[in-house]
């Protein structure tokens, strides 16, 4: 599951995530992070047999967990399938189909925003 984790300043100093990883059988992948002494947020991908339990655990420890349904969207009317974005994607989330249609895999996308800035027709949108 992909989710935004929000940290309040009061829990910044606590090693909640590492505790969760030790305690539960999960894979924990940090996609984006922005944390300062004033709090912060982290985009993560949590998976594994004890995914649900681990999320309950970190919520109880004070981290707000906000699952995200969509990361990225291509505007089909504006996109001309030029493919300028394909080679810029750091996680290979953008691919060209057999018929040369450009497809973005929402499951793979980490929302880095590099393609949105580089799209010649401004056809790619990110969800926050």
């Amino acid at each position: 599951m992909k989710a935004w984790l929000r940290f309040l300043p009061s829990i910044i100093g606590k090693a909640i995530i590492s505790e969760a990883i030790k305690k539960y059988d999960i894979e924990f992948n940090i996609l984006r992070a922005h944390i300062t002494p004033r709090g912060g947020k982290m985009l993560v991908d949590i998976s594994g047999p004890e995914e649900r339990e681990s999320i309950k655990f970190i919520e109880e420890r004070g981290i707000e967990v906000k699952p995200i349904i969509k990361v990225v969207k291509k505007d089909k009317d504006k996109c001309i399938d030029c493919g300028a974005c394909i080679s810029l994607c750091p996680v290979k989330a953008i691919n060209m189909e057999e018929d040369f249609t450009v497809e973005i895999d929402d499951q793979v996308c980490i929302g880095c925003g590099f393609c949105t800035k580089s799209c010649p027709t401004k056809s790619i949108m990110l969800f926050e």
């Binding site: 493919g83 080679s87 580089s118």
Partner: protein
């Protein structure tokens, strides 16, 4: 090219009218020729349709606005804030696709290409014109709204379209570059290419056996015409299987904007480069003989192109390696032992749609072929460079002051003294051999004092933006401008510091920094 004529354009047109013509796309022809050979293919196939949908900066349109009352002789004309050239009679203007907006807020995001697209979509465009006023044209200012249907003429006239092959771009430097070939990641991080390969019009008729002045083509959803070779047309280049391995032939194209369809053109902005117009072009190639069949049978694998390093902002860019379009279209190529992802830039999907669309039009008898008035020149054309009479000054020729350096283990206090005693703001940090290790500015020193740091190595900037002795001063000026820095060290090929160059030195020399560039 001593092939006998198998059929004439007139004969093919008769077949089209009778509904008997065999029409295939260039991709289909590749398979047919591979299977049956060019002789058999020439007998069976009458027309091969090609297509491309690429960013063609060298595009634009002549517009005639009609006369106002009282009349005006427009000398400065703006369409939605984009300047159109109107040094033509009174109410004609040429809007160029690559022209940015005069409003800095919009800048590169809405340019000439966007005006052209909006006109074709039927949208209202704000027209502002200034004039100096004459006895016959007294009005000095006009502001109104125009639409495509109210214009007397809107003639797309593109000075250079459909490049016959093109360079493939890569970037060897350690910074991201924003070019007309799209965003190029550092350290050979990605590859971009712009030709449609085996579908591309001029690759299928490399010696222009059938293409010339007057050839009717598919242009942005309607019929257009080739009005001769395009600008920068060149012919005497390296060829493989007859096809140029780099940019060569070009077309000048003309079409009626009023009949164009928005799905066959698209305004775009190459990030931090500028506006450009994606133009949809399809050219029918009559299969007159075996030679033409063989040419149109070319496959992506046999179309060779050069990977060029855009990290070198000079006219002659270094060639990194050779590749072909089959390899490029797999999505990755190998460079220096690394797998590098590729991006097409031109829409292969729409190129194919255009070739299919043109095929359908011909099959339905709605599009007849033309005999060109003259064939495009296929030899004797090379490109002349623009010689700058006053050649660029090289960094080496700059008179730089004796360079003051410091060493990584020096004390901050000594560095501060050096800055003050010499009345300077930057000091390069070098090792015992004089090799550059970092740079320190008076700001860094102040920051160090504030934070209680004493050793220079903890304070200096280690990633230094440098100037090389053999670079033109203008290139360094652009670097100073891009990074918004006040000075940078000059180094030789062994990275030994030879001097320092400041923004002030540059502005004294260059004056205004030129931000010009090349276009596709």
């Amino acid at each position: 090219m001593g092939c006998d004529i198998l059929k004439t354009i007139e004969e093919i047109n008769q077949k089209i009218k009778d509904g008997d013509a065999v029409v295939v796309t260039a991709s289909e022809m590749t398979e047919i020729v591979a299977e049956y050979g060019p002789r058999e293919a020439a007998r069976e196939v009458d027309v091969v349709t090609t297509g491309t949908f690429g960013a063609m900066c060298s595009s634009g349109a002549f517009l005639n606005f009609g006369h106002s009352d009282p009349p005006i002789k427009m000398s400065k004309t703006y369409l939605n804030g984009v300047e159109a050239y109107s040094g033509l009679a009174a109410v004609d203007a040429y809007i160029g696709a690559a022209q940015p907006n005069k409003d800095p807020e919009l800048g590169l995001d809405y340019g000439g290409a966007h005006v052209i697209e909006d006109l074709i979509k039927g949208e209202e465009i704000n027209l502002v014109a200034e004039a100096y006023g004459t006895d016959c044209y007294p009005l000095k200012h006009v502001e109104t709204l125009i639409t495509l249907d109210k214009l007397n003429q809107a003639i797309m006239l593109n000075p250079r379209n459909c490049y016959q092959n093109y360079a493939v771009a890569v970037n060897s430097t350690d910074e991201t570059l924003y070019t007309y070939m799209g965003t190029l990641l550092p350290n050979y991080g990605n590859v971009t290419y712009s030709s449609a390969g085996e579908l591309s019009p001029l690759i299928n008729d490399p010696y222009f056996q059938t293409i010339g002045f007057g050839t009717r083509v598919f242009l942005c959803g309607t019929e257009g015409y080739i009005v001769g070779e395009g600008t920068q047309h060149s012919t005497d280049v390296e060829r493989r299987h007859g096809v140029p391995t780099t940019s060569a032939g070009t077309l000048m194209l003309k079409g009626d904007m009023k009949k164009m369809k928005p799905e066959f053109l698209k305004a775009a902005t190459m990030p931090k480069y500028g506006p450009t117009l994606y133009v949809g072009v399809g050219i029918p190639i009559p299969v007159l003989n075996e030679d033409v069949a063989a040419s149109t049978g070319i496959s992506d694998e046999d179309i060779i192109c050069k990977v060029v390093d855009y990290g070198v902002p000079r006219r002659e860019r270094p060639i990194v390696k050779e590749t072909n379009y089959r390899e490029l279209k797999t999505g990755k190529i190998e460079i220096n032992g690394m797998e590098v992802p590729t991006s097409p830039l031109s829409s292969l999907k729409r190129a194919r749609i255009i070739a299919e669309e043109l095929k359908k039009l011909i099959e339905k008898g709605e599009f007849l072929l033309t005999s060109p008035v003259y064939r495009l020149p296929s030899r004797g054309y090379t490109l002349n460079p623009l010689e700058i009479r006053k050649p660029s000054m090289m960094v080496r020729e700059l008179e730089s002051k004796p360079v003051i350096v410091t060493h990584p283990d020096d004390d901050i206090k000594d560095v501060a003294r050096k800055l003050v005693d010499n009345n300077i703001n930057h000091i390069p940090v070098v090792d015992k051999k004089g090799v550059l290790k970092g740079i320190v500015t008076s700001w860094d020193v102040a920051d160090a004092v504030a934070k209680g740091k004493t050793r220079l190595r903890d304070v200096m900037t280690k990633k230094v933006i440098i100037a090389r002795e053999d670079e033109p001063v203008e290139v360094v000026a652009r670097r100073i401008d891009k990074y918004n820095i006040s000075g940078l060290p000059i180094v030789d090929s062994d990275n030994r510091v030879k001097g320092i160059i400041t923004a002030e030195d540059i502005s004294r020399l260059v004056g205004k920094i030129d931000k010009g560039g090349e276009s596709i």
